[in-house]
């Protein structure tokens, strides 16, 4: 019994190490499944896909640490994509259209935040409503049409290569990781985030500005969604009402796989980054192995359930 608990305790302290092990094993399996997997080109190419999920997962980590959730991120991607594409098609210069898209993403996040804080509603209900609202607005405003006659330089955000191998958006992601990591682990705001997740009422009575922190978090993820949506639109070179459909599953799966408790109070940026890498490797490997995308969704759905179950199982064993 004591040996078992010792192992479990070590597991707790080295969650990131375990995830790293999983990642390496996964890469090994994938390279057996497809000879194309372990090429430098493919590995770097994979990063194109995970930057969008990764940016949103950074914001989602902080939100899940406070005990909240945002189900509307996938729909918000569609809304921003449509906002950029259709204001550009209507004659707005593209740089301004991109800025407008970022503002739309931020405003959508702020809308979530205001609804949650002013009415004391559970984020789950609010973002379930905005999940449908944003998706519907994106469909309705785009009239179910697509815009894809962007100028060549727009490809820079999603298709550019640095030194001919490293995808450009990787730098944006690395920068975002550093910034969010600093905020979470080195600032008072970061401590507030954990405090709210551990005991919101106690945090409130200790003088933590709970509402303002939440408002900042939901607006912040809106901005990250905006950035992800611009990169996404640039990568697929099309703005459509169904962009980003279902991305919330990837994002939430990555965060809980990274060790953030869905009940709030715990989670790290390092864990989330590893979670994102594991999901990207899995998706990429399944594509290379010729598994249809609908099956990937099944695998992700099951993975999400297993990850949450293991998290809560180990957490309870520790207590």
């Amino acid at each position: 019994m004591s040996a078992a608990t010792a192992v479990l305790r070590r597991f707790k302290f080295s969650r990131e190490v375990v995830l790293l092990g999983v990642l390496i094993v996964l890469m090994f399996v994938m390279s057996l499944l497809s000879p194309l997997f372990f090429t430098v080109g493919n590995l770097l190419n994979t990063s194109r896909f995970f930057v969008e999920v990764g940016l949103m997962a950074l914001g989602m980590t902080l939100i899940i640490i406070t005990g909240g959730i945002d189900l509307s991120v996938g729909s918000n991607v569609a809304l921003v994509s449509v906002a950029v594409g259709f204001t550009y098609a209507a004659g707005l210069p593209l740089p301004l259209a991109i800025v407008f898209g970022l503002v739309v993403g931020l405003a959508a996040g702020l809308f979530n935040g205001l609804f949650i804080t002013l009415l004391d509603l559970h984020p789950l209900v609010v973002t379930l409503g905005t999940f449908a609202l944003f998706q519907g607005l994106a469909y309705g405003l785009s009239n179910a049409e697509a815009v894809s006659d962007f100028p060549d330089w727009f490809a820079y955000f999603g298709q550019a290569y640095f030194l001919n191998v490293v995808p450009g958006q990787l730098f944006i992601f690395i920068l975002a990781v550093v910034v969010v990591w600093l905020i979470l682990s080195r600032t008072r705001f970061g401590r507030y985030v954990y405090a709210i997740g551990n005991n919101e009422e106690a945090a409130h009575f200790s003088g933590v500005p709970v509402r303002r922190v939440k408002l900042a978090l939901y607006s912040g993820i809106g901005l990250l969604v905006g950035m992800a949506a611009v990169i996404y639109t640039s990568r697929v070179y099309t703005a459509r009402g169904d962009s980003g459909l279902g991305l919330e599953l990837d994002v939430i799966s990555a965060v809980v796989l990274g060790g953030a408790s869905i009940y709030g109070g715990s989670g790290t940026i390092g864990g989330t980054v590893l979670g994102v890498l594991i999901i990207a490797t899995l998706r990429n490997g399944l594509v290379l192995a010729g598994v249809p995308s609908t099956w990937q969704v099944f695998v992700l759905g099951v993975l999400l359930l297993v990850a949450v179950f293991l998290n809560e199982f180990f957490r309870r064993r520790e207590e």
Partner: protein, 333 residues
Amino acid sequence: MSEVQAPTPTEGGTTIGTGLRRWLVRPEAPALVFLAVLLVAFSLSSDKFLSGSNLESILVSVAVLGTIALAVNQVILCGEIDISTGSMMGLCAVAAGAVATSTGGLILPLLTGVAVGALAGAVNGLLATLGRIPSIIVTLGMLYALRGVILLVTGGSWITGIPDETRVLGTGSVLGIEYPVFVLLILFVVMELVSRHSTWGRNVFAVGGNRRASRLAGLPIDRVRFTAFVLVGVFVGIASIIYLGRAGSVQTNTGTGLELQVVAAVVIGGTSISGGRGSTLAALTGAVLIGVILNGLILLGVPGIWQDAVLGALILLAVATDVLRRRLLGDKS
């Protein structure tokens, strides 16, 4: 009628005021008032709206939604949520459809649909109670996982040629009422009785109202919640037979997006998303309200692509009204 009631929830000292107040705190009151206003508005703006055939076709169109909403209502009353019903309905329809095309008849496909639904509901219930995973995560994962199972089972192809005797629940009528409406009303009466008069029905309110107190009072909170999730599966199974009857075929994307309409129906109807407060009538009212709104939008010429936006706005409006109404009426809960 509604014009008189709208401004009153301020301060009323008279007996009429308190009577009105008591009526207004009923969970489904705002939805019923809203429904009445909409019925008047739509019948004034379109003379086709108030015809008997249009009203019955609205009820037929919400039969699948309403049936599932009646069960999800119980899950939400427990303080849980189920957003896997869209994929679950698809899977039940696939299973029932496959049995129907090979054996025919009504009973065997119905039992298959109900069994598959109950099994999926049991998985939801087990993970949410014994697994202690929040039900939103469980059912989000199941929403995607079950859709994957549909594609695995069907291989991406449609099921067509459902025999007529299986389709009777969607196409036939009894006592002058079309079967989908008949089934919906029967299930409504059953759920009303279960909710008001059975031990489980009362336990649902207790668990949703205060889970800790319920556990300390000795209520089997896990079993109560598990039963609610299984009930959703059973009702989804019944709904899938109505769907089979009306559509006559099953596609791999059958039921996509239904889960949102179901949750919307329940909360718009007036059942509180935080559990413990609501009624069976609320779920039915909400489902009819959604049917009336979607039907009205079509009559007014609003393109179908705006449906999701309207649905989302309605969910937000409903939960906001719920909070504001409780603050105005000074409800302590």
